[in-house]
């Protein structure tokens, strides 16, 4: 069991690294890179959503800001891309701390409203601030690898997104084993109780919010360098934010690999729809229906189904007697 649980992720990682050489054409490399990007963003979303139970539909705000930050640093200030990427992500994280302080004051539905409002605001700002961002005509970012052809660029970015996914997974794993993670889980189960037990709930929530914004911003920055052309309507679309939520819920928010699994299902399905039906609105309806089905019938996700964990609190309520029996067995 131990070797299996250690070995399987390593095997999967090796396969993932080799993926661009295993597939027959560059389109599949491109689709793979997109999938890994969504997986990294969903895993990062899950740092907030999975641990604390705060559902943010607005994480595309950080995606867009990370992308525009990187793009503007490269184009307007001639910062080398390898520096622009982390600088922009850090700026977005600082911004997320500010937003977080206001946003986590409210719970439940109000928090979701705030997160939706955040995206709409950012969209307005970027479209309205024409002189800086190019407004709705978009922003062109020069390619960081001008010598490579399109397919090779896809391969490079596939691996960059893979590194980002690895970082996000490691952070989630590390947080889940830490005191910080335990505090965040306590917030999910009962925030008032956690507070009265001495968990610094406000600080923890802001920290989780900022951490999950950091990786999404990095993904946005990489996206800007990869695609080279930013359009505010796409970058700040609420659809990207809802993809993160859908992927995490579908896979299982309480599991390390849940969002990854969700991304592996949803992102290729989206690409398939795009090829099979062209640029229609049907994929929107399909996403919506899938979200409704997941919320209604499988809010705990696929992995919870597979591992047969009962839905409910992660800390089972059992009596002292049951505990003793379990220890004796």
């Amino acid at each position: 069991m131990r070797t299996a649980s250690r070995g399987l992720p390593l095997l999967a990682a090796a396969l993932a690294i080799a993926y661009p050489w295993l597939v027959p054409n560059y389109y599949l490399v491109y689709a793979g890179a997109l999938t890994v990007m969504y997986a990294a963003m969903a895993t990062s979303w899950n740092l907030l959503g999975g641990f604390t139970g705060y559902v943010s539909l607005g994480h595309s705000a950080f995606f867009g800001l990370g992308a525009y930050g990187t793009g503007l640093l490269v184009t307007r200030l001639d910062v080398p891309w390898a520096l622009a990427l982390p600088v922009s992500a850090l700026l977005v994280t600082v911004f997320a701390v500010g937003v977080g302080v206001a946003a986590v004051r409210v719970r439940g539905a109000s928090f979701v409203i705030v997160s939706i409002a955040l995206v709409s605001m950012m969209n307005l700002v970027v479209q309205g601030w024409r002189s800086l961002t190019g407004g709705s005509t978009g922003l062109q970012v020069p390619s960081p690898f001008p010598d490579l052809h399109r397919g090779q660029t896809h391969m490079v970015f596939f691996h960059l997104f893979l590194v980002l996914l690895g970082l996000a997974l490691l952070s989630w794993w590390y947080v889940s084993r830490s005191r910080f993670g335990a505090g965040l889980r306590a917030i999910r189960e009962d925030e008032d109780k956690a507070e009265s037990l001495g968990v610094p709930t406000a600080a923890y929530k802001v920290a989780a919010f900022a951490l999950s914004a950091l990786f999404v911003a990095l993904a946005g920055g990489l996206y800007a360098l990869w695609f080279g052309s930013l359009d505010p309507i796409f970058m700040f679309s609420i659809l990207i934010g809802s993809y993160m939520v859908l992927m995490s819920l579908l896979g299982g928010v309480r599991h390390l690999y849940g969002p990854l699994l969700g991304a592996l299902i949803v992102a290729p399905a989206g690409e398939y729809f795009l090829i099979a039906l062209g640029e229609t609105q049907v994929h929107l309806a399909a996403t919506g229906v899938l979200l409704i089905l997941v919320v209604l019938f499988m809010p705990e996700g696929i992995l919870s189904r597979l591992t047969r964990r009962r839905p409910g609190p992660s800390i089972p309520e059992e009596s002292a007697g049951q505990r003793l029996e379990g220890a004796a067995r």
Binding site: A102, S110, A117, L239, T280, Q281, L284, G288, L291, L296
Partner: protein, 292 residues
């Protein structure tokens, strides 16, 4: 000065319309503690149905109402009974937002498929002129929108206050368990509450179709605006939402004529965030909203 008056007058007219558009949201939140993100999508569904009635039959847009209002009432009951009521009770606030969000995406996708993504509009000859009072131009379409909104809200208030159903509905909003104890069938009443909410969306959608061009993704802008209105007014309070709607309508109108359209829309979010920072339960009602 006359510019300011113009903004003020337009703001009041638009605010009246906002009050109608957001009244449904207060009802859903009241009866089920559900933030219905799909409400604006239903508004535009109604707008498109109105468009069909207008273009296919050449009828006046308001003649669509006898069809859409009962249809939307039934839809609302169905949404509550078949979808919202099935959610696991422990996490209704979050899950209901996701559920209705999925509903909004579905509606937008279907509208885009059937009507294509291009702008549509319903223009009536009588709606294009404007009335001039003391140097202030009041477009007829805005006046009609205000009048319809006032009429609908008047009927809604009368139903809520006078009728037996309204009493049951308000009892359900105030205290679900207590209402059940005195014999109110709260499940059924909650379903009707959703029906009435969506019926207001049918009226609101027709009015929207008359005053503004629309495309399937238009509802996103309205989610932000309407959510800001009900948060500022206090979640779950119909009267609070109406007051906040007029307030924000006036602010928007004044900023629109003095600064520009971007800032006018931005005002909604500014008010939303200020309210959450200063008074998360809202300014006019909202004893309910405390923990949501």
């Amino acid at each position: 000065m006359s510019l300011l008056l113009q903004g003020l007058a337009l703001g009041v007219l638009t605010g009246g319309l906002y009050a109608l558009l957001s009244s449904g949201l207060s009802l859903y939140f009241g009866v089920m503690r559900v933030v219905m993100v799909a409400h604006p999508a239903f508004l535009f569904l109604a707008a498109y149905l109105t468009y069909t009635v207008h273009t296919v039959f050449g009828a006046d847009p308001f003649l669509a109402l006898p069809v859409t209002v009962p249809l939307f009432f039934l839809l609302g009951v169905a949404v509550q009974r078949l979808l919202v009521a099935r959610l696991a009770p422990e996490n209704v606030p979050m899950m209901s937002v996701l559920l209705t969000f999925g509903l909004a995406l579905t509606i937008e996708g279907l509208l885009g498929t059937f009507y294509t993504g291009s702008y549509k509009s319903v223009s009536m000859e009588y709606a294009t002129r404007s009335l001039t009072v003391a140097g202030v131009h009041l477009p007829y379409d805005k006046i009609i929108a205000f009048a319809v909104a006032a009429l609908t809200l008047g009927v809604l208030f009368a139903v809520l206050v006078k009728s037996r159903f309204g009493q049951a509905l308000r009892a359900t909003i105030q205290h679900r368990e207590a209402a059940r104890l005195v014999g109110v069938p709260t499940e059924r009443v909650a379903g009707y509450g959703f029906g009435v909410g969506l019926a207001t969306a049918a009226v609101g959608g027709t009015v929207l179709a008359l005053i503004t061009p629309f495309f399937p993704a238009s509802h996103w802008v309205w989610i932000g605006k309407l959510m800001a209105i009900i948060v500022v007014g206090g979640l779950g309070s119909v009267a609070g939402a109406a007051l906040a709607a007029v307030l924000l309508g006036v602010v928007e109108g004044v900023v629109l004529v003095t600064v520009d359209a971007t800032w006018a829309t931005m005002m909604f979010y500014v008010f939303l965030f200020l309210t959450l920072l200063a008074r998360p339960q809202g300014f006019f009602g909202g004893r309910l909203a405390h923990r949501f």
